[in-house]
Structure formats: structure tokens, C-alpha cells
């Protein structure tokens, strides 16, 4: 079983931006397309460590984990493979939990 852990702060950024790539750096679209989708496609289990970031705007969360992620890899794959570790931002954790049913560490 291929497992990968993505450390958001070290592998992407500690200052996540907004929604779309053209609006600024480190957007939800960039994270989803460049890191999350390839990891989901190539591994059996993806553990996403989101601790340590400055904060996740709702637009970032919606673009990274929302309907566009389902369109690319399918909701079933996301729910079966993705596990999220986020302990220092309960608001963002709640937002992701409301968005989709994934497992949380």
C-alpha cells in the first residue's frame, strides 16, 4: 500500500492565498492541481498535514477540497484515500468537515 504524507507548510507554503491561480500565489487551485490531485492518483493513501499554516480562507478550502476536486479524481477516491491532520485551526477543520466526508487524524 503506497502511503504519502504531504506537509503543507514545508512542501507548499505557510501563507495560503485565495481561490484561483491567476489571482495570486499559493492559491487553492494551485495546491489542488499541483500537489493534491497527483498524490491522490498515484498513491493509495494520502495524509495531508495542514498544521502550522497562517490560516485557510474559505475560498482556498472550497477550491482545494470542493467540487472541482471531485470533478478531477472523483468523490469516492477522495473519501477513501484522503486523511487530513489539522489541529491548530478548528474553524478551517469545521469548514472542511462540512464540505466533505473525509477522515481526520
Amino acid at each position: 500500500m503506497k502511503i504519502i504524507t504531504i506537509h503543507f507548510v514545508t512542501e507548499f507554503t505557510d501563507c495560503p492565498g485565495g481561490r484561483h491561480r491567476h489571482q495570486g500565489e499559493f492559491s487553492g487551485e494551485e495546491f489542488r492541481d499541483d500537489l493534491l490531485v497527483p498524490a491522490l492518483r498515484n498513491h493509495d493513501r494520502v495524509i495531508l498535514d495542514l498544521n502550522g499554516a497562517s490560516g485557510f480562507a474559505s475560498s482556498f478550502i472550497d477550491e482545494a477540497f470542493g467540487a472541482n476536486l471531485d470533478r478531477q479524481v472523483g468523490g469516492a477516491m477522495v473519501e477513501s484515500k484522503l486523511a487530513i491532520d489539522l489541529k491548530d485551526d478548528p474553524t478551517a477543520l469545521r469548514a472542511i468537515r462540512e464540505l466533505r466526508q473525509v477522515s481526520f487524524a
Binding site: 505557510d14 499559493f26 475560498s59
Partner: protein, 422 residues
């Protein structure tokens, strides 16, 4: 024999040589050109080969040195391309003139009259604009907003040749008013760079120092200086930031600059970070209308400022954009539904901030940006959020209902001020 993918025209233009027929007809099968794209051998008339195949002539380094590729366009092709582009350009101009002859004549007449007006103005002298004594946008703001409207009219919409902005009567300036002034100067510089702006400093040293610290005097040549802090005063400001992109590093730097003074809890700093990022995101995505000629917007641009008062323990952050404003944006997007959702602009703002109901997207996950503005105040012990947009001013305090007010004069765009008390 090296084969790369290219078109025949590109081969000709880059090497200056015609397609080598002799190479194609060389004897052995292995010498035939091999396409690196489709992997097949090609032979026969080179003019009939697929457009993506060509053969590089120079197979050795010595050949390459002896015959370096010449990048030139043949003279007859250059002349042909030039004449074709000239013909196309002339056709476009004829078509444009045929379509709107009257509009072209009006435009030239308007431009002529505007130039004459500027010349007459220059002959008379500079237009003087006195700055109000109390420049504020969060309280008693009618005079300040009228002054900003006059400044916009004189420096940007119908620019004059010279304008003198008289700061001598200024007694107090609030940081958000200074930030909006900076935004107006930025727009004036962009759309009317020939309008000469002259200023004097306020006689009140605190006001001059406040405007200097936030970077206001940089827009007026000759009045800026290296340091602006007044001895004995406890207020500190972060120089204003302006951009048109959503940049998290800027917000992080601003928050960490005031972190030691503000003693932010982790939840508070994250809530503030999210609130400012949402403001930037809304500015980039929704605040400004679609681009049309004649509209004087700095599309996507926002201005950000932070400050603190060590004596009183007050910390504030200001965000401003020059877009349509929250009520204007919502009304433009949800024309049919607005009469059923809110009666006034103030109600629209309150519903958008408190409930987050207005998204043009049908999914339930959208429309959550504006509530994050208030989340920062809710996460802190004592704070206040003030939103001034068009003719509406709404004040949100933790644990209390919102206070709304209808302004007599409209402030274009949206001004968001977070105030914390430590």
C-alpha cells in the same frame, strides 16, 4: 542524421536554406529522415512531407561551424508580409471610420474642448482644495467624503492642469481617511498624470507625522522625509501596502509586525489572516465591474494598512478597494432577488456579513467570505468592525447587534476597519 520536429517555413526562416532535396534521396534506408514525433521514416518529394518533419542539415560539429545558421527572412517575403499587414491595418481603420463617423467627430471635439479648458485653467492658476479640519471616515464623515469626491473630480474625472491641496487647516486625521486619500492619489496618478498636484503640510505636527508614517507624502514630491515619528507619541503605523493580487506573505508580515504589541492568540491571528485574505479575494473576484472604456478603475487594486497605539492599547487594520461597493456588487449579481432579501443597502451589508447569503453560485459552500470579516472580532476579547460602502456605514461589535447608518454622501468602494482594544 538528427531529426527534429518543425515546419518547413520555420526551417527556412531559421537556417536561411531551402529544404535539402539531396538529403532525402540518399541511398540507404537508414539515412532517410526519421520523424521524432510519429517515429516513421519519410522519403520522397520534400514539399509533400508532413508539416512537422524536417531534417537538420549539419550532422557534425565542423559542418555547423563552417555553415552557421543564418536567421534572416528573405527580402521578398519581408516585403510581402509588410504589405499584407499594412493592407490589413488600413482595412481595419476604414471599417472603424465607416461604423462610427459621428462618434469619432464627437470624441475629437470633446478632446479639443478639454484641452482648451486645461489651457485656460493653467493660465488662471491652480485650483485650490482645502482639506477638512477633521478628516475621518468612521465618524462625522460627511465633510471628508465630500472632500474626497471633489479631489476625485478635480484630479481624475475632469482633471485640471494644477491643483493645490491645502492641508494647513487639518487638526486631526484618522488612518483610514489617510489610506483612502492615498488610493485617490494613486488613481489620479494613473489616469491623469499630467495634472500637477501641489500640497503643503498640516500645521498640526501629529497629523503630518501620521500621514508621513503611512506613506502619504510619497505621492507629493518634495514633502516626504526619512522618518516621521513625533517624539513622545506612542502611535506606530505600518506603511501602506497596495497590490492587485491575493498575497498571503504580505498579510503574514503585517500581522507579525504588530504581534508583540497585540499579543494575538493563535485563533485571533488566524481569523485576521483569513479576513484579510477574503477581502483581497473579493476585491480580485467581485469588487470591480467588467472592463469598459471610459471607466476609471484601478481594476483589482486594494490598499492595506495597520497601526497600533501603545498608550491606549488600540490596534487597527484597514482595508480599502475602489470597486462598486458591497451593495452595488450584490445588486449587480442578484438583481431579481434583492428586493425580497433586503430593503436597504445597510440591510444587504448586514445580511452579507452576518449570514453570508449572497453568492451567485448555487453551491452551499460559496458566499462564506464576508462572514469571515466579522469572525476576527468574534474571536477577540473586545473589538469592532466598521464597514463603509457607498452610502452605508455598518458597525459590528462583539456580543452586540449591528449598528447601521445612512450617509448623506457616497464613498465609492468598500472600506473595512477592524479595531481591537487591548
Amino acid at each position: 542524421m538528427k531529426v527534429v520536429t518543425c515546419t518547413m517555413d520555420t526551417f527556412f526562416y531559421t537556417t536561411g536554406r531551402t529544404w535539402p532535396k539531396s538529403v532525402i534521396y540518399m541511398g540507404r534506408f537508414g539515412d532517410l529522415p526519421l520523424c521524432s514525433t510519429c517515429g516513421r521514416h519519410y522519403y520522397g518529394n520534400p514539399r509533400e512531407l508532413p508539416m512537422h518533419v524536417f531534417v537538420e542539415l549539419q550532422t557534425t560539429a565542423s559542418d555547423r561551424d563552417a555553415n552557421p545558421p543564418r536567421r534572416r527572412v528573405p527580402r521578398h517575403l519581408k516585403a510581402l508580409r509588410h504589405s499584407r499587414s499594412v493592407a490589413r491595418r488600413n482595412a481595419r481603420q476604414r471599417l472603424k471610420a465607416r461604423r462610427r463617423p459621428q462618434a469619432a467627430a464627437d470624441t475629437s471635439r470633446r478632446h479639443r474642448l478639454a484641452r482648451q479648458a486645461i489651457t485656460r485653467q493653467a493660465a488662471r492658476g491652480a485650483t485650490t482644495l482645502p482639506v477638512p479640519e477633521n478628516l475621518s471616515l468612521t465618524a462625522a464623515s460627511e465633510e471628508s467624503i465630500r472632500f474626497l469626491a471633489q479631489l476625485r473630480q478635480v484630479c481624475c474625472e475632469k482633471p485640471v492642469a494644477r491643483v493645490f491641496i491645502d492641508h494647513s487647516q487639518v487638526r486631526s486625521v484618522t488612518p483610514e481617511a489617510g489610506l483612502v486619500l492615498i488610493a485617490e492619489f494613486t488613481r489620479a496618478h494613473a489616469y491623469a498624470p499630467t495634472c500637477v498636484k501641489e500640497c503643503n503640510r498640516p500645521t498640526d505636527p501629529d497629523s503630518a507625522a501620521l500621514l508621513g508614517e503611512i506613506g502619504y507624502w510619497r505621492y507629493v514630491p518634495g514633502l516626504d522625509q526619512d522618518t516621521w515619528s513625533t517624539p513622545g507619541k506612542s502611535k506606530r503605523f505600518f506603511k501602506h501596502i497596495t497590490d492587485a493580487r491575493t498575497t498571503g506573505s504580505v498579510v503574514k508580515e503585517l500581522i507579525s509586525h504588530f504581534g508583540p504589541a497585540a499579543h494575538f492568540e493563535q485563533e485571533e491571528s488566524k481569523a485576521l489572516y483569513k479576513a484579510i485574505i477574503e477581502c483581497m479575494e473579493n476585491t480580485a473576484g467581485h469588487a470591480y465591474p467588467e472592463r469598459r472604456t471610459g471607466q476609471r478603475y484601478l481594476y483589482g487594486k486594494w490598499w492595506l494598512l495597520g497601526g497600533c497605539d501603545d498608550e491606549s492599547g488600540e490596534i487597527f487594520f484597514v482595508f480599502y478597494d475602489q470597486g462598486l461597493g458591497i451593495p452595488g456588487t450584490i445588486r449587480a449579481r442578484l438583481r431579481d432577488k434583492v428586493p425580497f432579501l433586503a430593503r436597504t443597502d445597510e440591510d444587504l451589508i448586514v445580511k452579507a456579513v452576518v449570514e453570508g447569503r449572497f453568492s451567485r453560485h448555487k453551491t452551499q459552500n460559496r458566499g462564506r467570505g464576508l462572514p469571515q470579516l466579522k469572525a476576527f472580532i468574534d474571536a477577540s476579547a473586545q473589538g469592532q468592525l466598521v464597514i463603509v460602502s457607498n452610502q452605508s456605514r455598518c458597525i459590528f461589535r462583539k456580543g452586540q447587534g449591528p449598528t447601521t447608518e445612512r450617509l448623506p454622501v457616497s464613498l465609492p468602494g468598500t472600506l473595512v476597519v477592524w479595531n481591537l482594544q487591548r
